[in-house]
Amino acid sequence: MATSLAHWLTRTYLAVILLFLYLPIAVMILMAFNASPLYEFPFEFDLIWFKALLKNEKLMTAGFNSIGIALANTVVATVLGTLGSLGLNRYEFRGRQLLEILLLPPITIPWLIIGTSMLIFFFWTGIGRGLHSILLGHVALSIPYVMIVVGSRLKTHGASLEEAAATLGANPWQAFWRVTLPALSPSIVAAALFAFAVSFDQFVISYFLAPPGTSTLPVEIYTSIRKGFTPEINAISTVIILVSMGLMLLVARQYRFGGER
């Protein structure tokens, strides 16, 4: 009796949690396909909001800005972060531990404060505002995530794989390409996803660093909501959700994030 009650309780708990997480998203996706702009029932399937989205130049430009910045950020932050992580974990040098500790604050400091300091810094140095400084800001913000994700993997497999490669005659270059990189690849992909998400989701820093007339998707969505909500927002959000979930599933399948089967 007691066990079946506990069983029932845990199941219900899980169901409620999932409901809280996914119900708002489900409603939003549903409304993206509803003809009524005022969320009226009965539900009437229509793609007008997707068509309207294609014609909404501001939202589309902001979307492409966001994707472009997120992609560039993913490449730059993943490469730099992976290299940095290799440096921190495979070489001994003065100040190594200090550097490793200094990685953490950017993650814990509120984005509002980081955004403000970046705005002041970019203004003061003459870098100014624009897509380039948004990218710089995103890269700076993403690198710690990449280094932590890749670093944890580097720590668990230690240096023994590279050492084994060396005893088998691989020079350091061969050891890197044939052993280190493949062994790291699941964590590099995970880190890249993190970097993409950090950039694509980023609102505060983008908002501060975007000059008038330029914006990224989160900033543009925020601006248009303030002006008055349109279901086009539902439409673009639906597109983003489906694409990102699909990507996640693909990667999770490939790299067995759920552990060994």
């Binding site: 023994s160 084994a164 490669a165 060396a166 005893t167 005659g169 020079n171 061969q174």
Partner: protein, 349 residues
């Protein structure tokens, strides 16, 4: 297949001397065991031969050629790591072929030699498995095959059987010895397991605090340990200290042990001592006699171990004998412990 020479090699880590002027040679085709407690420097020595540790002083040479400045990947060594360090992204074949692939060996030859290795380590048919799909013993054999396929000058094994359970370890000992004999490669292995060292090695070196304590064939080192440390580290030993007079050692309690040598300390292996009930007359050749009282009898079927108190200060000695009489002496029994002077070994303290 090569001779390896280590001459006067020292290595410091801060104030710790990991290696203190170590000199050893390893003969072509020899199976050599480096035995010592953890932190003794045995692994540092192995890693210095591999090239991961650069000696502060001294010379390491393969076939007479100095290798201290040769990087690991050009030393032509094979190494089996304690955790095997198999490449998780490659299957068994890929792992074994790795050393050939980085050398640019042709695909056809690679396949032939990988097949050959799989046969040698009895893993034929498992070439397509990933390392994580193998048992510990199988992983161990893949690591061995991977290290041997490049036909290294020296094979280095770092606690090769340490991660296996007891039964598997004993099986693998036999197999390891067999594979080494077939390949004929000079093999140096590190272990803290004395039984493993005795079973596998042609010669062993006992290492302590960065120094070589004793080198020799297992039978020599076990039967004729040169120091108290060597005697105690390799097996059990009863230690007697007293006053030296010519061919004898006088113990504090007046007992006299016949003991060739000059040292005032001698050791006797427990299995060399026989226990007689008080009143029985030991054979004449067992002329070293000590009276004692049994403290503890440890009966394990085929053998019996006794802990016996002897002398005025109740020095405890340990004896270990095959159960030939089928009779157990109980604690409190008065006995005479007897052994041959030939098994009374003088050692340095």
């Amino acid at each position: 297949m090569s001779r390896v020479d280590v001459a006067e090699v020292s290595k410091r880590y801060g104030s710790v001397k990991a290696l203190d002027r170590v000199s050893l040679y390893f003969l072509d085709g020899e199976f050599f065991g480096l035995l010592g407690p953890s932190g003794s420097g045995k692994t540092t020595l192995l890693r210095a031969i591999a090239g991961f540790v650069e000696p502060d002083e001294g010379a390491i040479s393969f076939d007479g050629e100095r290798v201290e400045s040769v990087p690991v990947h050009r030393r032509a060594i094979g190494m089996v790591f304690q955790n095997y360090a198999l490449f998780p992204n490659l299957d068994v074949e890929g792992n074994i072929a790795f050393g050939l692939a980085v050398r640019g060996t042709s695909l056809a030859e690679r396949q032939v030699r990988v097949e050959e290795m799989l046969r040698l380590v009895r893993l034929t048919g498992l070439g397509a498995r990933k390392p994580r799909e193998l048992s510990g013993g199988q992983q161990q054999r893949v690591a061995l095959a991977r290290a041997l396929v490049t036909r290294p000058k020296v094979l280095l094994l770092d606690e090769p059987l340490g991660a296996l359970d007891r039964r598997l370890r004993q099986e693998m000992q036999v197999e390891l010895k067999e594979i080494q004999r077939k390949s004929g490669v000079t093999t140096i292995f590190v272990t803290h397991d004395q039984e493993e060292a005795l079973t596998l090695s042609d010669r062993i070196a006992i290492i302590d605090q960065g120094r070589v304590v004793q080198v020799g064939a297992p039978v020599d080192v076990y039967e004729r340990p040169s120091t108290v440390f060597a005697a105690q580290f390799l097996g059990d030993a009863n230690i007697f200290r007293g006053q030296r007079s010519a061919d004898a050692l006088l113990l504090d309690d007046g007992a006299r042990l016949t003991a060739p040598g000059t040292s005032s300390t001698v050791i006797v292996r427990p299995e060399k001592m026989l226990v007689f009930k008080r009143g029985e007359i030991p054979p004449a050749d067992l002329s070293n006699l000590l009276p004692g009282r049994i403290l503890q009898s440890i009966y394990s079927g085929a053998s019996i171990a006794y802990r016996i108190a002897t002398g005025p200060r109740d020095q405890i000695i340990l004896t270990f004998a095959q159960n030939r009489q089928g009779e157990l002496l109980h604690p409190g029994s008065e006995v005479t412990v007897a052994w041959s002077p030939a098994h009374t070994v003088s050692v340095a303290t």
